[in-house]
Amino acid sequence: MWPVIVLLTGPVLAGLLSLVIHRARVLHVVNFATMLALAVAETALTRQVLAEGSVTTLGGFVYVDALSDFILVIITAIGLSCSLYMWSYMDDRVARGVIAPKRLGHFFFLFHMFLLAMVAATVANSLGVQWVALEGTTLATTFLIAFFRRRESLEAGWKYLILCSVGIALALFGVVLTYYSSVRVLGDASSALNMTALIGVANQLDPNVLKLAFIFMLVGYGTKVGLVPMHTWLPDAYSEAPAPIAAMLAGVLETVAVYTVLRSKALVDQALPPEFTGNLLLTFGLLSFIVASLFILIQHNYKRLFAYSSIEHMGLAMIGFGVGGMIGTFGGLFHLLNHAVAKALAFFVAGNIHRRFDTLEIDGVRGLARAQPITAVAILVAGCALVGLPPFSPFVSELLVVSAVAAQDFSSDTMHVGRFVTMTISDEMRSLGIVALFLFFAVVLFGGFMFRVGAMVWGTPPAGVARGESWTAGHVPLMIMIVALLGLGFVLPEPIQTLLTRAVNVIVVR
């Protein structure tokens, strides 16, 4: 029980403390200590989940199983590295007068509220509370995105607030519909939205209502994930947000939003054949993958480049979940972890580059290898990982997803995307067609992405840009993430593997 309490009260305490502390150093210590405490609590919780299967506590409000625990691992791991990175990044912003010293406390307050909302959305037992927490993430982050108060950041923050609020209002209707169908079965109980109660009776729920509910939830939560065509807020928000916040948005918030989609999928699949949710996810996933890889070709701003890469990777994970089965789902979940690490690394790097070159334009950045050697190594690793090159771990998860697609035999009457692509009768041709399409756009992406990254790394730095880079606290997470990306490409540690396998069993209905 105590790990959950620490996870939920830690951010609250740290947030309130941040409002009364004025010294930057103390703020950073409090922030780092909190993240460390959360990481310890999460480790304990993982042990408990691995031993007992699932944990229900605090009067049934909290329900943690392998799937939610896996998401919590991502939240705490990225959060911890983020707090280290912020140590150097935020101090630098204050020193350069980008933000007033007294606003640092506000920043950490909002950051911890953001964290709290994400943890709450992950551990909530009730679908309704999950919704409330996810809307909470929107409200907490909109001012973080607009934190520098420039014209562009205000615009990005407003767009994010409006689009995500609208999306998520649609998701709330989906939750209401789920409730509408479950009170029939469970009676008018306050537990009729709890996952623990729903999962037992899901096969008695009305399939028509659930269909409608899933569509609303997918569109609503999909807006938060950044699936095409609901993605328009995402590049703006990521490019305007301070680098550590962009890392949290891309690495963690998207993951939490995917988690909410997976929860509803796990529920709906009990009452309907899995092809229904699978095909919807596959369609959105493929569309996001294709559109994002095309937009990557025309980017001239490196933060936007990374943002579009996020859309593409979420599309890829969705393809994995859409195809389903053990391999596809495992690949999708593993990809969430890999993407979180690689993308957080990419945005940390972006923060470093921005501080040195003072521009977000790719054309303005030249000769990174000479100006910032450590950062240059990091961006090369992040770049290779994000386009799916071996030996980095995203290669492994992408390979899993692609093989799942190739191995899948789609039933001919439901596979609309496949029919559109191959125009043939044969089922094997259809799945091969999707694979071919996928690989083609993966190549497009590879070219576009590596071209831009290469342009920044090589060459001579522009005049006026200092050369050489000294070690700071902010470089520690970079190194850890590089090692993690390499290591996970070769070995998947035993606890993570067990956790992933069990999480797959939560999603896949047999």
Binding site: V129, E155, F173, A192
Partner: protein, 221 residues
């Protein structure tokens, strides 16, 4: 069906339709302060519907939701929005993406679509309130449409709140209210969203000299 239930059902339907009418009035209204007033009126009808459902079914916790609706959506949020309008010195929406007659026609079509979508699931509902689900969806869609059609930050917020009202009508009327903790959470989120929009319009005004969101065009491909 006993006569009292039939009467109750009619009354709930009447209230829901009044909510829908307010939506149309908002779409047809150019003056910002009138839009806010109409939203407050709609919320009052929502509270009345909730109280009616609570009375007819004996679910006490819906009274609580009705009371919260009155406090937050009839009194607090409209007051915040009116303050913003006063401070900003904007009273009318001049540029619209879609003109009013076309907008009203589209809204009519949206209502038909809403009834069409909910057709297969309506027979499942409680006898008392089964038609309200379709109306709720119609209100959500019209709120959505308002956000697209209007350019002022305030009207976009009103559109969002109208959507929220629609969801709430769906929850109260179709399922006799959500669990209390969820309702509290939703109210909290809506209230905070209102406050945030208040702060935002202030900053947008300072930075752009306008709360017209069509001036927000720096970021694009």
């Amino acid at each position: 069906m006993p006569a009292s239930t039939q009467l109750g059902s009619q009354l709930v339907d009447l209230c829901s339709v009044l909510l829908l009418l307010c939506c149309f009035a908002i779409v047809a209204q150019r003056r910002l302060s009138a839009c806010v007033d109409l939203f407050a009126l709609q919320s009052a009808f929502l509270a009345a519907t909730a109280a009616l459902v609570a009375f007819l079914t004996g679910h006490k916790h819906i009274y609580f939701a009705a009371a919260l609706t009155i406090v937050i959506k009839v009194i607090v949020l409209p007051r915040i929005l009116r303050k913003v309008i006063e401070r900003l010195n904007v009273s009318r929406e001049l540029g619209m993406n879609i003109n009013i007659p076309a907008g009203l026609l589209i809204c009519g079509a949206l209502v038909i679509i809403a009834f069409f979508i909910t057709q297969p699931i309506i027979p499942l509902g409680y006898l008392l309130t089964r038609d309200s689900l379709a109306i709720a969806l119609a209100i959500i869609l019209i709120g959505f449409f308002t956000m697209i059609a209007r350019q002022k930050a305030i009207t976009q917020m009103v559109g969002f709140l109208v959507m929220e009202n629609g969801v709430f009508l769906g929850a109260t009327a179709a399922a006799y209210g959500m669990p209390l903790i969820v309702e509290l959470g939703v109210f909290f989120d809506v209230l905070v969203a209102g406050l945030i929009v208040g702060i935002y319009t202030h900053r947008l005004q300072d930075t752009f000299d306008s709360v017209d969101t069509s001036t927000l065009t720096v970021l694009k491909e």
